[in-house]
Each structure stands twice: as C-alpha cells, then as structure tokens.
Amino acid sequence: MKVDRRSFLSLLIGGAAGTALSPLPWKLTDDLSIWTQNWPWTPVPPRGESYYETTTCTLCPGGCGIKVRKIDQRCVKIEGADEHPVNKGGVCILGLSGLQLLYGPTRIRTPLKRVGKRGEGKWEPVSWDQALTRLADKLKEVRAQGAPEKAACLLDSSRGTVGHLFRRLMTVYGSPNFFTMPSVEDAYRAALKLTQGIEARVGFDLENADFVLSFGCGLLDGWGSPVRVFKANSTWKENHATVVQIEPRLSNTAAKADHWLAIKPGSEAELALAMANVIVGRNLYRSEFVDGFCENFQGLKRILALHTPEAAAAATGLAPEVVVKWAVEFARASRPVALYGRGQGRTAAGSLRQCMAVMLLNALVGAVNRAGGMWTVPDYDYIGWEEPELDEVARAGLERPRADGAGSGKYTPASSLVQRLLGSGAGQLPEVLMVARCNPLYSLPENGAVKDNFDKIPFVVSFSSFMDETAANADLVLPEHVYLERLEDVPVTAGLSCPVIGLCQPVTEPRWDTRSLGDVVIALARKIGDSAAAAFQWDDYEACLKETLEDKWDTLEERGFWYDAEFRPPAWEDGEGKFRLAGGKLDEVLQADEIVPAGDPAKFPLILVPYDSIRLAHDYIGDPPFMIKAVGDDVLKGKDVCVQINPATARKFAVSEGSIVQLITPVGKARVRVHLDEAVMPGVLYVPRGLGHTAYDAYLAGKGINVNALIGSLEDPASGFDAAWGIRAKLAKV
C-alpha cells in the first residue's frame, strides 16, 4: 500500500463528509454567533433585586433630591427624586455621574500621612487613631504657644451641622479663623445687610416672575440650584415671560433667552445704574414701595444723576435707546426681577457695587419680597446648641483679628475673604490649616500665588474623599465618606425662595476606611481635650444630628427632606423695617470705582474672561469621566483647551482656527488652541473653568488648562471681595 496524493484527498473528502454529518459545524456556528453577541467587555447590568434609595445630592450647592437605583448592594444609577421641592424629578449631568465618584479610582482609601516632600505623592497609610492624634497634637502645640488664632479651617460653606461643628471647634479652641470659599451669596448677604440691616439670605421666586433681567447669570449654565433654574426656565417659556440676558458672550443662557444684550465685559453695574436712572427719571418706579418703605430716595437720585443712558452707552457699547428701552420694559412688567451673579456664581462674590446696583433695580420696581421677586429668607435656625464654655486661651484668641480681615474696618460687609489670605497673602498665614469640601489649590484665582502661600503653611490637613490638588499637597489626609455613604443635613440656600433642608443618607456601605466628617470633628475635639472635649458631648455625629433636628427628624427620615412650602417673606408694613437706597456705606459702595482688569493695555491688548459650563464642574468636585465625555471639541480638543476668539480679533492677531498659541496674562501663560467663534465679542478671549486639573484620575488630569492659573484677583474696594472678572491678555506664537 502506498499513501499518495489520491489517498490523502480521499481522506479529506471522507473527513469533510463525516464532519458535515456530525453536529460540529452547526454547533460551532451557533456558539460563535452567541460569543459575538456577548463580548466580555460589553458592560452588562448586574442581576439581582432592583430598588431605590433616596438621598440628597451634595455635589453642588443646589440641594437636589435624588434616588439611587440599586441592584442588590450595588448602586447602578442616579435619578432625580420626583417629590422633591427643589428639582421635582430632574437631575443634572454632574448629579447623574455621581456613581463614578463613589466607585472611581480617585478615592482616598485610608488616612494618609505624607512621607515624601509635599506634593510628591508619597504617603504612608495610618490608622484613624494615629491620624487624629497627630492632628490633635499639632493643634495642642499651637495652642500651648498661646496663639490659637494660628489654627484655621477652610470649608465650602458654614451651613449645616458639619459647618457648625467646625465653627464650634474653632470657637472653643480660640481661633476666629474659620474661612469659607467665596460665592456670590456672600455679595447678596452683604447687600442685604447694607440695605435692610438684616442677616439673611436672598431667594428668588423665579417661577412667578414674568420679566427676568439677568446680569450675566448663567441660568442655563449652572447658576443657583441648576435643575430648579432649568425648570423655572421652562415655566417662563410656558408663561411667555421675557428673559433678557446681559452678557458679553453668547452662552447657552444667552442663546436661549428672548433677548441678548451683548455688553462690554465688566460694565454690568453701569448698565444697571443707568436703567435705574431711566426708571427714576421717567417716574416708572413703584411709588407704593419706594415712597412707602424705602429710605433716602433723594440720596439715590443724586447718585443716579451721573449714570445717564449716554454714560452707560459709552461703558457698555449699547446704544442709549437700547438702555432706555429695556429699562422701560423692565419697569412696566408686572412681576419683574433682576438677577446678579456672573456664570454659576460660585467662584467669587464679585463686586459689591454690581450686586447692589442690581438689587436697587429690584427695589425700584418693588420686586423685594413680592411674588416673582427677590425675597429675603431668614437663615436656618434649627441649630440651637448651647454656647460652649471658653477657657482663658480661647477668649484671648477670639479677641484677635481675623487673618483675612473680614468683618472689620473696610471689610465689614464680608464674612470670609479667603482670597485675600491665600491669594494676595494679605494677612498672617495660619500654622495649621484644615481644609474640607473645597479645593482651594485648584479653584481659587491667582493659582500660582495661592500655591506659594499654601506652601508656607507649615501643616495642612485635608479631609477630602478624593486625591484632589489640595489633598495632594497636604501633610495629612483624613478622608471623609462621599455623599452616598454619609448621613448629614443639607440646608439649601442657592437662591431658593423657600427653606428646604435635605437629608443626605447613606445609600451604600462605606467602600473604604473613611469616616463621616461630623464624627471626625467630634473625635478631634475629644483628643484635644479640656474645654474642647466638653463642648462636644454627643455620643457620635448621628446622635448630634438627631438631637439638633429634633422636631424635623421624623419628616426628614420619612420624606428625605423638610420643606416650608408656606413660606412667604415678611410683607412690608408701615413702621416696620425700611429698605435703604443710599447713604453712608451704601454711597461708598455705589460710588466705588469700576473694576478694571489687571494688566497694561499696551502690552496686553486683549482681555481674558473665564466662563462656566454645566458640563464642567469646577469646585471641589471635578468632572467624572461621563461628564468629561460630554465636553465638546470646541471646548477641549485632545488635551488642548480651546480659547474662543472672535474671527475679527483672530485676523488682527494673525491666528487661525485650530492653531496652537501661547496665551499670556500678567500672572501666567499657557498653551491653548484657537477656536474662532462669532459668539464672543472682538477683543475678548474666553476659556472655560473646570479643566487643567493636575490631580484626580487620568480621565481628568492633564486635560486643558486651569484658567485660575491665568487670572488674578482684584480686591473690591468697597468690600474686599474678589471682584476680578477677567484679566488683560495677549497671544504669542508657541
């Protein structure tokens, strides 16, 4: 027998015939098709019981109610809570992406002690007890020197029990240096104090307004409580209310408004005062309010006399008739309201003069404490703890001036001026700084100077849940739970017209060795001992919260929020409080110089202005991966941030679409990509806030530039607030 080619072919043919008569080919085909439909990398929802748990979102000050969809123990989706008075079922892009913050790779998993140089990223995990002892020892050391004011803490806000616990700790310790991050609410608060002499917050009855005059507020870009304002915008459309957006750039808000007034940046106050001039001059003001409940109308008239429509025309670039037309329309509307707060209003308080000018417009049309107007809403008063007993050292420390100067002398209207301290380096820097729920190294303007000053502080403690820029440059990190893991009260301000307290409740077990910030403060006070320990007698934070909220607790637990739907601001009555229109400090504020961007116009012919986008979170929370994916390539292309330039300006400076240029300002420079856009005014450059992180994860770090490194701060002469809205700039070839 000889095996030849024929035999071989025969074998193959026999094999093929046999295979065809076996299940092999048919089964393999079927299996392969199933395999291709079930790629292992395709995300598949986990199986298990599906249910919802409700809580409150704390990623921005908006205070939305959310429900988290869970499959067994895994959180899989965040939705808006339908019943919630703030967002009524809506949710924003950041709120939706919250699970990536819970499960993402940037979480700090355990307390960390710095072992390398500061900012080098070398850490040693330590136990909670060791970390707290170290911090307490540091604090005791500073106090033993008789200088408790050299310990300071910086929070996002002083609201709620956690804010109050920190403040109480500072008080009993003896330091007046409790700082909060700047916000437009600071300006409103100062304006209320000056006009009505009260400590309260401002709310807006947006839903009932029929004419909205917005001075640069990014109503659809994340201003106030973003979802609530989005919903109010829908109501305005349904009710045919008029929305006038005054802003140099065609933002989303301007694009969706009924009218867009493109004024020169920084001229808002001039325009508001000229409109007030027209309203007064034409007797269009509501005399029942102005004559009945306002003081010093004559004084205001004198100040307004200088602010003619012609003067405003020169400042704003609008025609005088346009100024007159909109002043008249605003005054003739039945429920007009004027709003202040550039962009999202969360970075700086801005110029008090601008805020005051807008508030005066509201007063002239009687929109103060009236339906559809600007309301004064009392501060939340549910935290009624007994005053702590102070020892000698604490009493002496509290007598000393604040390091930022806020609340005294020329800075009387302000309650916290962290920019002065960390940016300008105006006061004495603390020896121990505790930072919670904010990221000053990223989000304060004049970033370079802030970093330099920060480096001079000998001991910095971060309570951040994420390895953000500030935590990365701290000496000790005591990570707190993220919002989905913690129990806490969330008293909402953010321009809400009614008081709402949300309850943030854990929807999942803590993923790592983190703690509730309230518990950390209580434990820290115990470690400090003596009068500090005595002032914190609660078993734990949960006990403190329940005791504090007493009568509201059941409602909070049951519904997830407490809401005073019946709230109405106090009606104006004869003999009651008056609204001051002018005189004293008010005159000083109104006559303060307009804020001019820093830099020599000859060297820096352009002006750089940062802008806010709903798709870019720029506070303590950075953009999660879902959100950064939603940023358009006219904002961020590859790793380059796009600077928006008017085509006319681009021609003048010989740059073209997509070219890479150097953007230079008096405080810094950065590589940017040119994006030509008719939506911005000639001579003005726009760069978004929220990019250029150096910390967090690979999805966020190294993308674009941090505009805060390019802009400086400018002190508002009347209040000390940071009032810089832009800076002089130029473009250069790379």
Binding site: S10, G14, G15, A17, I34, S50
Partner: protein, 227 residues
Amino acid sequence: MSSQEDKVKTLSETPADCQAGQGSGGGPFIVLFFIIGFVASLVVGWVIFPKVLYSQKSQPFDFNHRLHLEQVDDGCQSCHFFREDGSFAGVPKLEQCIDCHEDVQGESEDEAVFVEQYVAKEREVPWLIYSRQPNCVFFPHAAHIFGAKLECRTCHGDTGTSESLKPYEENRITGYSRDIWGRNIAGFKSNTWDRMKMDDCAQCHETAGIHDSSVQTGRDACFVCHK
C-alpha cells in the same frame, strides 16, 4: 541537456507513472482512506467535540431539592420567589437559607461546607446556574408563570425532585451552560425541558400565538425577547 530532450523525457515518463499508481495504491485503498476520514470525523464530531467544548465544573457543594421541597408549603416558589415588583428572585440568597441553616443540620458534609464557608462568613454561595440565558435575552418569569400559567417543570424538568446537583458543564466558547443547547449534541429533544434555545421558545410562542412585545415598542418577532 537541451530543452527539447527534456520535454520528450517528461512525456515518456508520464504514462508509466500512471500505470504504477493504478497498480499499487488505487481502487480499494482510496475507499479505505475515505472511510477512515469519514469515521474519524464522525467520532470527532459526535464524541470528542462535545467533550472538548464543555468544561466540567462542580457546584460549591451539593444540594438536595427533594428534601427541601418536602419541607416547604409553597412549592418551588417558597425559595424561587417573585419579588414585590414582579421580578423573579432566581436562586435564593443566603438571607432565605439562614433561618434554618444558622447552625449545621444533620451530618452531611455539604451542609457543613455551606454553614462554615458561607453562612458563618456571610458570603453568598456562587451557584452555577444551569438555565441562565444569554444577556441579550429578555426573559420575564412572571409572564410565563402568571400569564401563560406554565409549570416550572415545562422548562426546568424534574429539578424539584432531584436529590443531588449534576455537574455544571460550561461551554468554553460562549460561557453558557450546556443545558441551554441540551445534553444531546445534535440538538434533539424528547422533553420540553431538554433544550432552551431560541427555537424552543419560538415553538411555544408560535403555538400559543404570542406576538406581544413591550408596551413601548409594540413590535413583534425578534423584539418579543430581544429588547
């Protein structure tokens, strides 16, 4: 050698080659090789292939369905229940077992494994599920049990009266259980529960005239199960 001579030689050799081939390796040998190939591939296809295709895995420990069924009042649904929202809970979680199995009951080794390895450590048992459909299939138990009033055994066979768990055979390509295609590699079945492929679903849907899809899409055919 010239090229012409070369050609002549080639021509003259060819017929001789053919002769030799016919004489020594043709005829019956060709048939023999055909049969060898045919039989070998049949053996591969019917016997070896199924053995290679499926990997055998054993369950974390054995389980006696019959014993449990005797103890409960509500049949299969005592443990394989529907949740309040109508979704099917599937394989029970520790939570359902823990009432009786907090401590070791009886002397079986499997019971000891369960209590010590899982109950005591609060770990869910990683059961391998014989009847899990691919992820692209939308299968609501409620529609079949409450709507079509099917018996559990129509699809799952006599699992309820089994005394031990059979080995789980995982398809190495798809990662799914062998029970979906069926024990028979040719795909033949004698009982309704022998296979759970699309055709088996379709057969029943066709007979019963089911054309309902979701309320949202209202589409028939593929969309009834592939949403």
